[in-house]
Symmetry: C2
Subunit: 204 residues, 2 copies
Amino acid sequence: MLHISALEKLVHELSRLPGIGPKTAQRLAYYILRTGNEYPERLSEALLRVKAEVHDCPTCFNYTDTDICRYCEDSHRSDESICVVEEPSDIMRIESSGAFRGRYHVLHGAISPLEGIGPKELKIKELIDRVEDGLSGTGPAIKEIILALDADLEGDTTILYLAKQLQGKGLKLSRIAHGVPIGSDIDFVDDRTMGRALQNRVEL
Amino acid sequence: MLHISALEKLVHELSRLPGIGPKTAQRLAYYILRTGNEYPERLSEALLRVKAEVHDCPTCFNYTDTDICRYCEDSHRSDESICVVEEPSDIMRIESSGAFRGRYHVLHGAISPLEGIGPKELKIKELIDRVEDGLSGTGPAIKEIILALDADLEGDTTILYLAKQLQGKGLKLSRIAHGVPIGSDIDFVDDRTMGRALQNRVEL
Ligand SMILES: [Zn+2]
Ligand SMILES: [Zn+2]
């Protein structure tokens, strides 16, 4: 108990952040008090600004501070491929590989019955609409959909659901490969990854 | 690069917090965006409120949101003993032990020549003033000063400096004991702690 209500409130709010326990939140709150100068104002302003300026791109649901996001706007990218990801932050991982030059679609999560997240909580209908608009000619034609979802139960469940929804529309549908990370020692790869790496072996 | 200036600014401000690297800051910023609802506003308000309401107690320099802090105000505590600590958060550690019922004095740091923190950067003059006010009768008489500073180089340096400043004023001056933590296995105690525990042995 800090016995100072404003300080307790700040600790409470900070401890709602992921990975920040009550002890860490208290340490951060004391740091914020101690720094004096303009730090609390600057952080406060940054929080309000992000809330005011950043919104979902109406096409792909990536975060953006412009009408449509930079990946949807870029005329040098192909309209024919859409890479589907769970979170906006996943786009950066794919971009930094330089291996994809199409468009994106952000689901904002993955199907998780345990957490009460079903297909309706995700931007799945919006993905189907993009495909349908291509088929009817009201949007750009889409030929390929690459599912770059997490390699966990939720990702797998979402892939199964999407595959069912998207089949029969003449699309090339794929998921990114699982296997041994480049540069990693085979000794340190877990059994499931090794199983997948063997299953997905590529002919030479 | 997130390519969204409001988001980059938030990541930048969050990564100034202690123990929060750029990766963690980015994860927190995305969480803040994703939570939607009123979280950014609530955290922002908590930051501004702590800045506006919390200040140093004019007597002991503990944080408080009232004119003087609860420990200085409590008439059931003894005026004769002052426990000197580095940070306001240290007071809680001492209070929860229930072993001290006097007043406090917060230095707001410890002497650290490497970090450019000398005696003038700390509330040391204010501590001497409290002692002098007791001697001259303009404040409550102080009989004992307990130094509860960190058991590191900065704490030790500060203790040496304070001992020199406070000697010859008829005070009982002590520092808290170092030794083997209660409940801990002797095998796991480091050499310096064990050295101190032997030096500070208590006759039975
Ligand atoms: Zn977009
Ligand atoms: Zn006080």
